[in-house]
C-alpha cells in the first residue's frame, strides 16, 4: 500500500537577510534593489561571504514516509526544524526544494485557539475556530454539544472569551481541535499549555484519536507522551533527519544525543558570581554540577526515577573535620519536599580538610513527580551556616513510564515502587 504521506528530499532555506530587511520601508527597498548592481560590481569577496551567511537551511534533505494509521512523533531540540517541517506539510509555507505527497484530508493544529477572537462569545468562537480548522458548518453543529461538554464551559457559552480565565480559554480551544475529523492530523506542541489535569485529558483524547486509525504527526517535548502515543519516531537535528525508528528507540536516541552534547555547559553552574547569598563566613560555595546515569550531564530535565548526582565544589578556609553540605528540594509552591544532608551519610570519610573540596550527593533514583523543583544549597562549618544560596538551581523532572506499564504516573508528589496482588478472600470457597 502506498504511504499516506511521503516526504521527499524536503529542504527549506530561510534568508536571514530577508528577515532583517523585513522592516525596511519602500524607499530602502528601492535603494537596495537599485544599488545592487553597483554593490555587485564592487563585488568584494566579503560581500559574497556575507550573502552566504545570511542564508540558512532550516531543513535539509529530509525524507520519510508515513503509513496510513501510523502515529509518528517528531522530536528534536529547539531550532532543529520540527516546526518548519510541520509548517510545510500544513501548507503554510512553501518548501525550497523537494516535495510532500499527501493522500488524504489533512488538518493541522499548530497552535491552540488560532483565530479565536476575544470579543466573540464561546459559542461564536467554536464556530469560527472550527471553520478555520477546516470543519463544515454542519459538522460543527453536530459536534457542538460534545465540544462544550469536553471543554467544561457550558455556563460561559455566551460570554465573550476575553472574560475567560486562561485555563477555560485553552480548554475551549483544545476541545474544538480535538473534535476535528481529518484523515491526517498534524499537531505541534500544543499540550504544553493548560493545567496538568487538562493535559491528561487531552492526551487521553489524542490516544483515542490515534486508536481510531487516524494518521497523526505529533511534535512534543514530552517524551512520555511520545512514547505512549506514537508508534514511530523521527529525530531531527540541525534540520536533518538524524534517526527514524520506533518511538522508544527515537526517544532513546534523542535523550542520548542530548547528554552527549559536549559543547553544552548547562549542567555546570558557577556560583562565585552569585551575590544573592547568606554568607556568615564568606562565599565559599563555588560550583554545582549535575549528572545522571553513567555521569552524563543533565541538560533538559530528568525522567522520573532517574539518577541525580550533584557535585558541589566549595572552599574550606580553615582546617576542619566538622563540615556538612545540605541540599533542599522545594516544589513550585515553595514547600520543602526533600532534604539531602551529608550528616545523614553513615559512611562519610572523616579527617581534617582544608582548601578546595568536592562533595558528591548521589541520589540513585529521584522519584519526584514531573515538575520544576528549586534547590537550596548550604554549607555548615561546625555549628555555623557558613554559606547559603536560595534558589541556586532548578531541576526539571519530566514524565516517563516509571512503572513500566505504558502509563504515565499521575497525581501525588512522588512515585514509589509498590506492588498489587490478589489474595484469596477469607470467605471464598
Amino acid at each position: 500500500m502506498r504511504p499516506i504521506l511521503e516526504i521527499k528530499h524536503l529542504s527549506k532555506e530561510y534568508r536571514l537577510g530577508r528577515a532583517f530587511h523585513r522592516t525596511e520601508n519602500f524607499r530602502e527597498f528601492l535603494k537596495r534593489k537599485l544599488t545592487a548592481p553597483v554593490r555587485a560590481l564592487r563585488g568584494s569577496q566579503a560581500a559574497e561571504e556575507r550573502i552566504k551567511e545570511e542564508r540558512f537551511w532550516a531543513l535539509r534533505d529530509v525524507s520519510f514516509d508515513v503509513a496510513e494509521g501510523d502515529v509518528v512523533g517528531i522530536i528534536g531540540r529547539n531550532g532543529a526544524g520540527k516546526s518548519t517541517l510541520l509548517k510545510i506539510i500544513s501548507r503554510i509555507t512553501d518548501p525550497t526544494e523537494g516535495a510532500v505527497l499527501v493522500r488524504g484530508r489533512m488538518a493541522s493544529l499548530l497552535e491552540v485557539g488560532t483565530g479565536f477572537h476575544p470579543e466573540l462569545t464561546g459559542r461564536e468562537n467554536i464556530f469560527l475556530n472550527g471553520a478555520i480548522l477546516g470543519m463544515r458548518k454542519a459538522e460543527i453543529v453536530s459536534k457542538f454539544d460534545e465540544i462544550v461538554t469536553f471543554a467544561e464551559v457550558e455556563k460561559f457559552l455566551d460570554t465573550p472569551v476575553k472574560h475567560y480565565s486562561s485555563g477555560m480559554y485553552v480548554r475551549l480551544a483544545f476541545a474544538v481541535a480535538a473534535h476535528l475529523n481529518p484523515e491526517i492530523l498534524i499537531v505541534d506542541e500544543v499540550l504544553a499549555v493548560g493545567d496538568v489535569a487538562f493535559q491528561k485529558k487531552c492526551l487521553g483524547k489524542m490516544n483515542e484519536v490515534s486508536r481510531g486509525g487516524r494518521t497523526v504527526l505529533f511534535v512534543s517535548h514530552n517524551m512520555a507522551a511520545i512514547e505512549n502515543l506514537c508508534k514511530h519516531g523521527v529525530v531531527l537535528e540541525h534540520g536533518k533527519l538524524a534517526f527514524q525508528g520506533t518511538s522508544k528507540e527515537a526517544v532513546h536516541h534523542y535523550l542520548n544525543s542530548l547528554s552527549g552534547a559536549q559543547d553544552s555547559t548547562g549542567h555546570i553552574l558557577d556560583l562565585s558570581d552569585v551575590s544573592d547569598r547568606r554568607s556568615m563566613v564568606g562565599p565559599l560555595l563555588k560550583r554545582l554540577e549535575f549528572y545522571t546515569d553513567r555521569d552524563r550531564p543533565v541538560i533538559e530535565g530528568l525522567q522520573i526515577g532517574a539518577r541525580l548526582k550533584i557535585r558541589v565544589h566549595f572552599d574550606l578556609p580553615n582546617p576542619t573535620s566538622s563540615f556538612n553540605i545540605g541540599l533542599g528540594f522545594n516544589n513550585v509552591f515553595g514547600q520543602r519536599i526533600f532534604t539531602a544532608h551529608s550528616q545523614f551519610e553513615p559512611n562519610r570519610a572523616s579527617g581534617e580538610r582544608v582548601g578546595p573540596q568536592v562533595f558528591v550527593c548521589d541520589i540513585p533514583s529521584l522519584t519526584f513527580m514531573p515538575g520544576e523543583y528549586t534547590l537550596r544549597l548550604w554549607l555548615d562549618i561546625g555549628n555555623t551556616e557558613a554559606d547559603l544560596i536560595n534558589d541556586v538551581a532548578r531541576v526539571t523532572v519530566i514524565e516517563s513510564d516509571y512503572y513500566g506499564t505504558g502509563k504515565v504516573p499521575w497525581n501525588g508528589t512522588f512515585v514509589l515502587k509498590h506492588h498489587w496482588y490478589i489474595e484469596q478472600a477469607a470467605d471464598a470457597k
Binding site: 500500500m1 499516506i4 530561510y14 530577508r18 528577515a19 523585513r22 522592516t23 525596511e24 520601508n25 519602500f26 527597498f29 496510513e68 509548517k87 510545510i88 506539510i89 500544513s90 501548507r91 503554510i92 509555507t93 512553501d94 518548501p95 525550497t96 526544494e97 523537494g98 516535495a99 510532500v100 505527497l101 499527501v102 493522500r103 488524504g104 484530508r105 489533512m106 493541522s108 499548530l110 497552535e111 488560532t114 483565530g115 477572537h117 470579543e119 466573540l120 461564536e124 464556530f127 469560527l128 471553520a131 478555520i132 480548522l133 477546516g134 463544515r136 458548518k137 484523515e183
Partner: protein, 273 residues
C-alpha cells in the same frame, strides 16, 4: 484512504487561481465575513447606526460646504440626494479598501498558523462591508421619499454597479494587502490615496463640470463609473455609457490583476509577515 491527493512543492512565478479549492472552502469565507460584521460594532453604543451615520454626516457637511458655500450644483436631483448617492458607494469603497489592505497584517496569526485560501482574508474584509452598504441604501430610499424623488426602472442596473464597487475594492485590496506584508508603507499610503480619490471621483461635483475630453480619462478611475452608475440607476441621472463602460472594464481588470498578484505573492506571506 480517500481519493484526495495533493503534492506540495516549491512554486515559482505566476500561479493559476485554484477555483476548486476556493469552492471547497466557501463556508469559511462566509464565516470570516460574519466575524468581521460581529466584531465591527461590538462594544459600541450606536452599533450598526455608524454604517449610515458616516455617509449621512458627510452628506450634510458636503451639502453645506460645496452646495451652499461654494455653489456646486447637482445634475438634476436635490443636492443632498445627489451627494448621498455618490457618498454611499464611496464610503463603501474607501472603508473596504482600508480594511482589506490592512487585513493580512491584522490577521497575522491566521496567516502563520493555519492554511486556507489566503485570498479570503482581504475578500472577507470587503464582503463584510456589504451589509453597511445595504443600510446606507435603505437610508437613501428614505431620503428619496423625503424629497419625493421617483425611482425609475434603471434601478435594475444597480447590482452591476455594486458588483463593480466590490470588484475594484477587492482588486486593489488584494494588491495592497499583499504589498503591506513586506512594506508597511501601505498603511500610510492608503488614507492618502483615499483622500485624493474623493476629489478625483465625481462624488461632490457632477461629471459635466469636467470638460468632455477629460471625462474618458476619469473613467479610468473605476469609482467614477460606480458613482455615475449609482446615480443613474437610483436617481435616474443621465450618464455616458462610454465612461461607465470604461470604468466597469477597469474594475474587472483590477480584480483579475489583484487575484494574480495575490497568488504570486501569497507563498511568501508566512515567511515575512
Amino acid at each position: 484512504m480517500s481519493s484526495f491527493e495533493l503534492t506540495i512543492r516549491p512554486r515559482k512565478g505566476w500561479q493559476p487561481v485554484d477555483w476548486k479549492e476556493i469552492f471547497l472552502y466557501r463556508e469559511l469565507l462566509a464565516f470570516l465575513m460574519w466575524r468581521d460584521i460581529k466584531i465591527r460594532y461590538r462594544q459600541t453604543l450606536l452599533g450598526g447606526l455608524w454604517a449610515v451615520l458616516q455617509p449621512l454626516i458627510a452628506m450634510l457637511i458636503f451639502t453645506f460646504v460645496f452646495n451652499r458655500l461654494a455653489g456646486v450644483k447637482s445634475d438634476g436631483p436635490p443636492y443632498p440626494l445627489f451627494a448621498f448617492a455618490g457618498l454611499a458607494p464611496w464610503t463603501f469603497f474607501s472603508t473596504a479598501l482600508s480594511q482589506s489592505s490592512n487585513s493580512l497584517v491584522a490577521n497575522q496569526q491566521l496567516v502563520s498558523k493555519v492554511y486556507f485560501p489566503r485570498v479570503f482574508i482581504p475578500l472577507g474584509a470587503v464582503g463584510a462591508l456589504l451589509l453597511d452598504m445595504a443600510f446606507s441604501m435603505g437610508l437613501l430610499f428614505v431620503l428619496m421619499l423625503h424629497y419625493h424623488w421617483p425611482i425609475s426602472m434603471h434601478v435594475l442596473w444597480l447590482p452591476v454597479f455594486v458588483l463593480a464597487a466590490v470588484l475594484s475594492a477587492s482588486g486593489l485590496g488584494m494588491i495592497l494587502s499583499s504589498l503591506n506584508v513586506s512594506f508597511r508603507d501601505v498603511k500610510y499610503a492608503v488614507p492618502f490615496l483615499i483622500q485624493m480619490g474623493l476629489f478625483l471621483t465625481p462624488v461632490i461635483y457632477p461629471i459635466h463640470y469636467i470638460p468632455e475630453r477629460w471625462q474618458m480619462l476619469m473613467g479610468l478611475n473605476p469609482m467614477t463609473g460606480v458613482v455615475l452608475g449609482f446615480r443613474y440607476s437610483l436617481l435616474g441621472s443621465t450618464a455616458s455609457w462610454t465612461v461607465m463602460g470604461v470604468s466597469l472594464g477597469v474594475s474587472f481588470a483590477l480584480f483579475v490583476l489583484g487575484l494574480l498578484v495575490f497568488r504570486r505573492m501569497e507563498r511568501r506571506f508566512a515567511d515575512i509577515i
